[in-house]
Subunit: 241 residues, 2 copies
DNA sequence: TGCTCTTTTTGGTATGACTAAAAACAAAAT
DNA sequence: ATTTTGTTTTTAGTCATACCAAAAAGAGCA
């Protein structure tokens, strides 16, 4: 199985747009085109690179798909801040792919367990007072809507999201939002009952307690138990996927 | 001929190509267009959806950027297997973004430490005999080129790569390849000396030993120590980035 | 200064044409 | 009959032009 052939997109014969893409990319990375600034209009690009508007449009399209610019329809594309949102969009594509593979849903969920395992361990050892109070607030908010499944779902996501904030690394919030988007779509429409809410909230409390007592092993155990239980609740929905 | 009854875009902000993209996406996800099959030619798309070739091309371009199809220049685009390669391309984009942020390199490296921490812990608890022998082979290959820095770098990457294989989840090899691509570009051209190779190899051995003795805490400690040391070796190269 | 109203610019789309490469086909040679 | 070679058709890539509608910019007025 050859897994070596092409990197991002270009393998062999360069498209005419590739040169334009490279030049504009450098302008962006070098800061010549600062964040938020509109990129040259398509007609200016035509003029500058001596290519047709077709190619100019394709170049803009590629820049957009790479996340370097923000192109709303009918607006001048602007240089995008390479931040969480960009990463989010990219991760969203990954999630989409995972969901379309056989077993992809399970693999994606396992990945989530893997990530959050590391997060709760890190939380147990490194969480600051602020982190703790954020977690506590999220937990309490979660406990206050055991009877409102929609709000419970939101606060559930928020509680897990608080874990992703702890390392202070913007990669993690981006990952969380990708997972959340997926969950919001696939999970949100699932039948949820108050007793399940209570069970999940209890699990959240156990995780929080373990973090509070600075016990990474316990936190990990509770987290894994919680997520495996959550998976079991919906596994049959994704049978064979 | 003036076209009067066209549907430019349905009030919202949707491009005309979006409908085509949606329809083709469904054909792909439903299996109507199986993996490896060529998608309809641009002119067939024009015919089918009653749109101009411009729009058809844009739709194909979007599908390509989403990774649903594999579009080499001048070849008929084929439905892409939504697998590691797709994920790789996506992750590559994420890495690109991280590298262009202030502090992004460090954050990316921290993410790597986070991931590999989880991996060695999992290895220490779950590794099978096969996993162990793979690790051992990678370690030995690594130890045999202490004096050949290029080959040492390759086997170094391979050793870490063996860790990413252990969970049996294709997400991890994809992540590893993304990191490796980055390392191959940024790291590979760094001055490397035999004494550093030895130090890194010793660290690899320590990690392997901890995995062998089924001690996740020790494995984590050795891994973190190893990677932090590796970071220190090159941190000044990325000062302020 | 603040507001409307026009003018210009710009992105989105349509159409037609041309080129080089790939694919499909046919014919010839073994 | 099978392989090789040559020819035709199809197709992606590109270019040029044109039109429309929306956005941005400017002009005019209050």
């Amino acid at each position: 199985m050859t897994i070596q052939d092409d990197t991002p997109n270009d393998a062999n014969g360069n498209r005419a747009a590739d040169n334009v893409v490279r030049a504009l990319s450098e302008s962006i990375y070098s800061g010549e085109l600062p964040v938020g600034a509109p990129i040259p209009s398509e007609r200016e690009i035509v003029e500058k690179f001596q290519i047709s508007r077709t190619v100019a449009r394709e170049a803009v399209s590629i820049l957009s798909s790479k996340g370097l610019i923000d192109a709303r329809p009918r607006y001048r594309p602007v240089v995008r801040q390479p931040d969480l949102d960009a990463a989010l969009g990219v991760m969203g594509g990954l999630v989409q792919h995972m969901l379309s593979r056989p077993g992809g849903v399970k693999q994606l969920f396992d990945t989530r367990i893997f990530v959050e395992t590391g997060l709760v361990r890190a939380a147990a050892t490194d969480a600051t007072k602020d982190d703790i109070s954020n977690l506590r607030a999220a937990l309490e908010a979660n406990g206050e809507c055991l009877d409102d499944s929609n709000r419970f779902f939101e606060t559930d996501v928020a509680f897990h999201g608080a874990l992703y904030m702890i390392p202070g690394n913007p990669v993690f919030p981006a990952i969380h939002r990708s997972f959340s988007d997926w969950l919001g779509g696939q999970w949100g429409m699932m039948p949820r009952k108050p007793d399940r809410n209570r069970r999940n909230h209890d699990a959240h409390q156990a995780i929080f307690k373990a973090i509070l007592s600075r016990d990474p092993d316990e936190a990990e155990a509770e987290l894994v138990s919680h997520l495996q239980d959550a998976w079991a609740q919906v596994a049959d929905t994704f049978d064979g996927v």
